[in-house]
Amino acid sequence: MGRKLLLDKAHIEGIRYYDTYRANGGYAAAEKALKSMGAEAVVEEVKKSGLRGRGGAGFPTGLKWSFIAKPEGVPRYLVCNADESEPGTFKDRYLMEFIPHLLVEGLLISSFALGANRAYIYIRGEYAWIPDILEQAIAEAKNKGWLGKNILGTGYDLEIFVQRGAGAYICGEETALLESLEGKRGNPRIKPPFPAVKGLWGCPTVVNNVETIAAVVPIINIGGDEYIKFGIGKSTGTKLISACGNINKPGVYEIEMNISVEEFIYSDEYCGGIKGGKRLKACIPGGSSVPVLPANLLLKTAKGETRMMTYESLNDGGFATGSMLGSGGFIVMDEDQCIVRNTLTFARFYHHESCGQCSPCREGTGWMKKVLHNIEYGKGKMSDIDLLWDIQRKIEGNTICPLGDAAAWPVAAAIRHFRDEFEWHVKHPDEALTRNFGLAHYADPLPAPAPAAV
């Protein structure tokens, strides 16, 4: 069994409530941080832990914290990004629903480290029942003296508020989130200035994902040196993976970042294999934005090494033959799934979610959707495949925020690895409407890498 740091107590009945959470060691880390460590030591410990942003970007959290500006007399804010909207991702929901106090405790420690006296949890509007759970946890914590004025007699004050969004993927981008929190459309801001200097209401702000903030609790409890013993290399600690698609046991799993992709998909401890005894065709390992990989490149890298569930291994080979760990939204597709249709749903998603500020994204996502629709419905031309490639290339890197890249990458990867399937749709328009291309050669063993030239 893999060791757990976040969900180790998730199964305990009543862990959602303060008394049970506290009785099982809850708020010990907060006490340690506030009473015996001090703010700078907390930041140092998080730096030492190697914790990387769990929302998808993987940026070192301690470093992000150290960027926060500290002008005299200006308030600082911590904003928790709970706008979980990346298709395939539903891990933060689980954490907030089942152990809300872990997030509250993490917010307390993190806000203390940053010198913020107010923290906001910005949660996606569709998770409409979760704010009640969080607000109850906040009220309980406040009642027990963990929030409010002069916490634990240290002179430190903190209030936490929950804000619901209203349906916009783009608000997961941190500056769009801040705009939304200010009561505006979720249009990403041009950076610099970064939120660490000018964030919420123009004040220094750190925006961190739910899982990132929760991970601060075990880091303080066990120490950064112990935390890095979980995982491999720069992929330290544990990661929540939300697994979905055609698998036997979809759900949220906490993994130590030292297991193979194959083990994650096929072992009974995790996904339990492909549903209905079918064969694996493809997988999007880190949420809809990251490149899709065919089975043969998913389980082994192009160099023939075992692919691991780590930031580095999933990215091995770059975008030519690798993908990304991203948000941990792990989408598995069996031999009956159609890559063109799946890519079409993502193009439609990004078109729907583009905020419309940048022309390449606003127009490009719409064109990709139309061209993919034609191919999927047997009305495509061979030149459409090249057209798609051209459009995605012109979006990538040409927009204010990463939504453009996120829209381009899945299309690029689908064409890169599944071009045969796109061509088959064009060549067999009648069949494209009645059946799928199937597994084809996508699980075949890869040719051995060519020996290095002497």
């Binding site: 991702t89 929901r93 569709e126 209203a166 979720g186 979809p250 993502f346 979610e353």
Partner: protein, 165 residues
């Protein structure tokens, strides 16, 4: 048409929301207050409702319109008493959401974006709601209905009809 006016209780709720932000930043309350207004005033935001919210928050009506039109959860047209918002993005699609959407269409005799003649049900397709592991799914009011099958859809429709009577 009923007058657009929050009850005393809801007005207190608005005050409580505004108090979450620093002095003078009451515009931040816009999205939470629009949610409240949509719940209170028939499940959608009329121009009258939006103007009312602008007045409460002391911002211009256009500031409300531009936000209300940006976020997909705000309905700018009347909807049925029960709004079925069925997810159709990749992970739901590979788990059979297309078939569920077709089933609901046939069962209710309406297309996507339409409301049944009795004003009871509206069918809407939406993009990823974050329930990918429990697909196919839909949002119904405040909650998610997951692992949908035709039989489950029948049950939900019956449940809504029973509640309405």
């Amino acid at each position: 048409m009923a007058v657009v006016q929050f009850s005393e209780e809801k007005l207190n709720k608005v005050k409580e929301i505004i108090a979450r932000y620093p002095e003078g930043k009451q515009k931040s309350a816009l999205i939470p207050v629009l949610h409240l207004a949509q719940e209170e005033f028939g499940g959608w935001l009329s121009a009258e409702t939006m103007d009312y919210v602008a007045g409460i928050l002391q911002i211009t009506p256009i500031e409300v319109y531009e936000v209300a039109t940006f976020y997909s959860m705000f309905n700018l047209k009347p909807v049925g008493k029960y709004l079925f918002e069925v997810c159709q993005t990749g992970p739901c699609m590979v788990s059979g959401s297309d078939q569920i959407i077709d089933y609901i269409k046939n069962k209710l005799g309406i297309g996507v974006g339409e409301t049944t003649p009795d004003g009871m049900f509206t069918l809407k397709t939406v993009e990823c709601l974050g329930a990918c592991g429990y697909a196919p799914m839909m949002q119904l009011g405040k909650h998610f209905r997951e692992h949908l099958t035709p039989a489950k859809v029948d049950e939900i429709i019956a449940e809504c009809r029973a509640k309405a009577n």
